[in-house]
């Protein structure tokens, strides 16, 4: 087996390695130099589109048809997308392997599944007028450059919102690139434009001149971690600076007059410059290495290296990982390399194996760890095995070793080798795999319709499988040639008992494909009622949608359907739909109460709910600014109730309300006081307080206010008016409907601060009370003598004494009480 260091190249003090991933990538007659080639990160698919600026020979009608071709890294054609939308100005990938195509007029198409399904949006902001000239893409968005140098940024693909960035100055843009938002201080995307001698940095709010004088630059490239920028001048010099333009790190003279085709970063440490068939790797301190190829080379930058694509090969150049370096470097005596050697000795049945182990005994754990890690970074299966064997051998010697990493690595390598296989063509490095995560790897496999492999890997790594099944089924309903019943049965059989299957999604796929009946049948297998609703609405199965929404209990969903129906259906049929569903009706009632009274009126009218209908009018009456219009509304309300017997009470009340309003209006006018807005009782109260007793009387009889209430009102009003004369006059009345006994007069008058008058009512109360209670009442009025008299009546000597003491023995009061008490003490 070849030495793994054979492909190593020393650049500066670091080694770089070139790994041949695949051979015989493209047809020999594919003129790669005439194509724009863009690849997705993480070893993803490659999109080829014929570069329209280049001449090409005429080859009959079929070859001239414009298309975008999607290939795997191994050169397997995944899909050919026919293109007839005009000239393509931007072609790029998002990190979840969606292909974006931007045309000159600012139309953006997102091909989300590698199979030609797409969504579309437009950039706006003048893109149509001026035209897009170029685009730059990053993991979650892109920036388009217009002919007038304006920049439009799209920062997310799930809800694309094109935004105009700050306006850069005029002038020809020689080259440009961007720094993804994740790596900038401002957290928004920053664009670097080479205009004239200098570079402008443009973000959402400002465009800043970086004051360089070494331009113009034909290429600008930003390192994957956003910290460094590589600049290539038209004079053939390359500079590496920090992305804040503060430090110049290195400078390299390519000594070439020919402008390179591409400048990309290889990881974060080196820059790769590609000419037609020559590739330079430049590391710090002017160190460089050169590779030569037979044909045109295209660069595809990835996170930890760069892929080189030619007709013949697909290579991967990366810095040799530290652990690999430690194991394989020529002449190394690291514990790991000795351990690796030990395994070889073991295979040769040489006793040296044990010597080796003894040699590295103190560092054995470290050696095993290194071997495990190095195995991960290895692309060659032989060396993977060898390294793992070494690790296994090493840990068998150890007493205690946590094998979790070892086991995980074995699993990971199995997966990696499976997807690297040329028929799949996903040449993931170990580091890329960790960054991508297994879940997203599965998603990429699904997009390639590698269902079986996806399922195997999912179950191997204990990942959810539902998405795979759903995708498979959706694909089945789209392209399956069997009749609908067979397809439905097939899908249900296969998916029965699996968790998390969204039949709604499959049904939607079927519906979009125009297989309505199949969609309905599939939808019945969806257990989540709420999920079915939007699709049912699309399918115009309105009533079923409403029923399903009600079934789900989610009022939001119900209301959503109702809003939809309200807009769509004529009022009569809308009412017919909701009438048989009480939940729907009550939701409509409660939500429209505020804003759409007409709808409510109609609803109640056709449902013959007269009281409710009248209430709508009453509610409107409350909102009227003046009595006149309020009365009109009341009349309307009354009209609704007029021919029903059950509502006679309400009818009468409404009529009374109108009468009240009329009377109050008259009072307002005549008495220059405001009565409108008061209730009947309040009006009477106010009238009495203001001294209009006769008008109050009239109100009382008009509204048949009960006698008791009238008494209370009069009492309260007179007390609040402090009309003691009137009250005293009143006390002469013989009978009171509200009873003297409950002491209303006494309490209220006393509370109003007229004890003298209050005491007048005590004798009226007395008969109903316990003897003796009057004492306290008199006392409250401050009339101790009277109190004492009462005490004497019930022969309560103690109280008399107490009262006398309170009054003071020597005072007039005291003597009086003394006198009264004396009569009592006499036997």
């Amino acid at each position: 087996m070849a030495n793994p260091t054979a492909d190593w190249e020393k650049v500066g003090d670091k080694f770089y390695r070139k790994i041949q991933l695949y051979t015989a990538v493209f047809d020999q007659d594919l003129e790669l130099e005439n194509y724009i080639v863009t690849g997705c990160s993480y070893g993803g698919a490659i999109a080829l589109h014929r570069d329209e600026t280049k001449l090409h020979s005429f080859r009959g009608s079929q070859a001239s048809k414009s298309s975008i071709d999607l290939y795997s890294c191994a050169g397997k054609l995944i899909r050919r997308i026919n293109w007839d939308k005009g000239s393509i100005k931007g072609l790029g990938w998002s990190e979840d392997e969606k292909l974006f195509v931007v045309t000159a007029d600012g139309t953006v198409r997102c091909y989300y599944d590698l199979q030609g399904e797409f969504t579309q949006f437009t950039l706006g902001h003048g893109a149509e007028e001026y035209g897009v000239t170029a685009c730059r893409f990053y993991g979650t968005g892109f920036v388009a450059l217009l002919a007038n140098n304006h920049l439009i940024s799209v920062s997310r693909y799930d809800e694309p919102r094109p935004k105009l960035l700050a306006t850069p100055p005029e002038g020809e843009v020689r080259s440009w690139t961007l720094i993804p938002p994740a790596y900038t201080l401002s957290r928004s995307v920053e664009v670097l434009l080479s205009i004239g001698q200098t570079i402008y940095v443009v973000d959402a709010s400002e465009s800043e001149d970086r004051m360089l004088d070494i331009g113009p630059f034909s290429h600008i490239s930003v390192s994957p971690n956003g910290k460094y920028v590589a600049l290539y001048t038209e004079t053939g010099r390359a500079y590496v600076i920090t992305s804040d333009f503060q430090n110049r790190l290195s400078e390299y003279d390519s000594k070439s007059r020919i402008p390179p085709k591409d400048v990309q970063w290889c990881g974060n440490d080196a820059v790769v410059i590609a000419w037609e068939d020559e590739v330079h790797i430049i590391a710090p301190k002017n160190a460089a290495a050169k590779y030569f190829y037979d044909g045109r080379v295209h660069l595809i930058a990835d996170h930890d290296g760069v892929r080189l694509i030619t007709n013949d090969v697909c290579d991967f150049i990366q810095k040799v990982p530290d652990v690999t370096d430690e194991v394989f470097r020529f002449g190394t005596e690291s514990p790991a390399s000795i351990l690796l050697d030990a395994v070889e000795q073991l295979e040769n049945q040489s006793p040296k194996a044990d010597d080796n182990i003894q040699l590295i005994r103190p560092n054995l754990v470290e050696a095993v760890d290194t071997c495990v890690k190095a195995a991960g970074h290895e692309f060659n299966i032989h060396w993977q095995k060898q390294l793992l064997k070494a690790a296994s051998f090493g840990k068998s010697v150890l007493d205690i070793y946590n094998s979790d990493d070892f086991v995980d690595m074995c699993e990971t390598l199995r997966v990696l080798n499976a997807v690297r296989f040329y028929e799949i063509g996903l040449p993931l490095s170990y580091e890329q795999f960790l960054r991508l995560t297994p879940e997203k790897l599965i998603r990429r496999l699904i997009n390639r319709r590698e269902y079986l492999l996806a399922l195997r890997i999912s179950s191997y790594l204990r990942l959810p499988t539902d998405r795979i099944y759903v995708h498979w089924a959706s694909q089945k309903v789209r392209v399956g040639s069997e009749d609908e019943d067979t397809i439905c049965r097939l899908i249900v059989e296969k998916l029965a008992g699996k968790r998390g299957i969204s039949f709604e999604e499959i049904a939607r796929a079927a519906y979009d494909e125009g297989r309505g009946r199949l969609a309905t049948e599939l939808l019945n297998h969806e257990p989540r009622a709420g999920k079915q609703v939007p699709l049912l609405l699309n399918m115009e199965e309105d009533e079923i949608a409403l029923d399903k929404a009600i079934e789900s209990g989610d009022s939001d969903l119900i209301f959503f359907v109702l809003l939809h129906l309200k807009k769509k259906l004529p009022l009569a049929s809308f009412f017919r739909v909701i009438n048989s569903r009480p939940v729907a009706t009550s939701l409509i009632e409660s939500t429209t109460q505020a804003d759409d009274t007409e709808l409510l009126k109609d609803l109640y009218y056709q449902d013959d709910r007269r009281t409710d209908g009248a209430n709508v009018f009453l509610r409107e009456a409350l909102k009227q600014p003046d009595s006149k219009t309020a009365s009109d509304k009341l009349t309307l309300a009354a009209k609704l109730l007029s021919d029903s017997k059950e509502t006679s009470f309400e009818l009468k009340a409404l009529q009374e309300a109108s009468t009240l309003l009329k009377m109050q209006e008259a009072f307002d006018r005549d008495l220059t006081e405001i009565f409108t807005g008061l209730s009947v009782n309040e009006t009477i109260f106010k009238l009495i307080r203001l001294g209009y007793a006769s008008r109050a009387k009239k109100m009382q009889s008009e509204f048949k206010v009960p006698e008791k209430t009238a008494w209370w009102l009069r009492l309260r009003a007179l007390v609040s008016k402090r009309d003691w004369n009137e009250l005293e006059e009143w006390s002469k009345t013989r009978k009171s409907p509200i009873g003297w006994e409950t002491q209303p007069f006494f309490t209220l008058i006393l509370g109003a601060g007229n004890p003298k008058l209050a005491s007048v009512f005590i004798p009226k109360v007395a008969p109903a009370l316990q003897p003796g209670e009057t004492i306290a009442m008199y006392e409250k009025c401050g009339m101790r003598v009277k109190a004492a008299e009462e005490a004497v009546k019930i022969k309560d000597v103690e109280t008399v004494d107490r009262l006398r003491n309170l009054a003071g023995v020597g005072t007039v009061e005291g003597r009086e009480i003394e006198r009264l008490g004396a009569g009592l003490k006499r036997p």
Partner: protein, 680 residues
Amino acid sequence: MAPHVGFNTDQIKDKARKDLLYLLEGVRGKKNLVLERGLAGPINLFVKFSTLQEYGVDKLFFLENGNADVSQRNVVFVARGESARHAQSIADHIKRMQRESQTGHEFSIFWVPRKTLVSEKILEEAGVLGDTTTSEFPLYFLPLEKDLLSLELEDSFSDLYLHRDPTPTFVLARALMLIQQKHGLFPRITGKGDNAKRLADLLARMRQELIAGEDSNETSKLGLTPSTTIESLIVIDREVDYATPLLTQLTYEGLVDEVVRIQNNQADVDSSIVGTVPQPAPGSSKTVGTAPVEAKKQRITLDSSDKLYDQLRDTNFAIIKSLLNKVARRLQNDIDARHSTKTTAELREFVNKLPGYQAEQRSLKIHIALAEEIFKHTRTDQFSRLLEVQQNLAAGADPSSQHEAIEELISRDAPLSEVLRVLCLESCISGGIKHSHLEHFKKMILQAYGYQHLLTLDALEKLQLLLSRSSPMAAMIPMTGAGAVAGAKTNYTYLRKALRLIVDEVNEHDPNDIAYVYSGYAPLSVRLVQSILQKQYLTSITRGGNANNAAGVATGGASQGWRGFDEAVKHARGATFDEVQKGEDKAVKARALLTGSGEKKVVFIVFLGGITFTEIAALRFIAKQEEGMLSSPLSTSHANNSTPARKRIIICTTSIISGNRMMDAAIEKGSLGKNTAQAS
């Protein structure tokens, strides 16, 4: 898997805070916050304004005021997604701001607790959806106390029973589902009432949907097996027992709520009552919702962080005076102890305790003032009249004998809500009011309070709170124990005996039955809970026993559902159900292995549609008994029962309600022609 922890309300609080701060962090730079008014109080419960400031919040506005300014580029709206009204006003806000300012704004909306289709649709139709970033702030339950979770949906009562809008039930189900996902299924769900049944059905449906929606991942499967730390879920629909909240609450906390109203653990009290309370620390005192409080009002926090309040809250108001007295005296003694300090060490110890004393003194001052204020209220003629009528009605006195008193209340212009409470109470307890009487009362009310209350009366009828005996809805009310259709309406006449709702000899100082909370009336809702949790006790007191010689507090355990009380439960309104949630045997064993057993088990008691403070007090009383902390008088005779089933009770509800809040749902606020003429 992380070590399993039992249910703890603090987790919910922490999560809410983290969620909000995380969302705020997502909006870069300074921002103005526009808050739905109803959310200010709840948010204030778990995060201080100063913390929000640390996360870049500059100014705070209320959505309802419509006055948010354009001083910051970032504007964050926080509103409940269930309400279309809020979406509309957010759209209006955004449009106005876009008009007013030249600079571009970044609008973010945090929907509480979830995004809704309707809200998005409204924003879309208003043409502003494209300018906003929306995210969800999953705020469901708010822990008001360690044992009390509330959704704090202020309108839940009117939504559920007046508008028949099922949203609160749905939100509650989602909230409970979250608990189940974390701690396992409720092994048993028992409940009473139609909405409660709907809740249980929703839970079952959500469980099915969750299983369907869940991937085949092993770890999450565990979430859907019966819990070993939770014993059961008991759901009581407010509809089952309307009468209880209509009665005036007689615990301290209840009365504070009746008189000054407690909102999100806070009450606005006139400063003249409590004086200016020195706030603990100026920075932290500025709470999320303080801004709009009128100058005259003082906002005080009423929760268990106030040790004194914690002691007082659930006691009957009758003994508050003596309790306060006792505390005051003890505090005085403690502080006086400084005179007797001899050594410097003793003195230092005293000084260390000083802050504690000061805090205590402060809270003592507040509560004495508050109690004084309430005394003022309870001493009035009107209050005692009301209470008398209520208690007579509750005890089953002939309703017509109370009519005169009610008429007098109306004539004397007593607050409308109080009058309506009494009338509704009569209607609920005695199965409607005689038609002629009802019309008479209605007429009196319309004349005394205005004709707009036609709407109020109609709403009360829709709520089935105020019915005529001849109305079709009332006709189903069985007046006698047998014969009529049971279950359509709560039959208090029957239940009063069957569940012994009236306990004459309550001891307010050392209560022996939950009836102490209403000075002699045991809330039916809580009796229903007892019929599940405390079967023996309830049996002993209903079988002619006297509350005092009830034989211990034997715990039947929720494993028996309604058994023993099936007949009684039939006479309460609505559906009755008792369901067991099972899981796969293997998974059940796995969970048992992981969590262990013998721990205190949690019982969740859900009051759908709201709970009163008195009911909370009564449930806490039960909780104490179940924890074995409160020894009942005869517990010694049950000494052999040495291992009482240890239980913890967690109360969940949609909101805290009271009779007044129920009436507020119905009372029409406008008045005829008043728009021009403001009554003097």
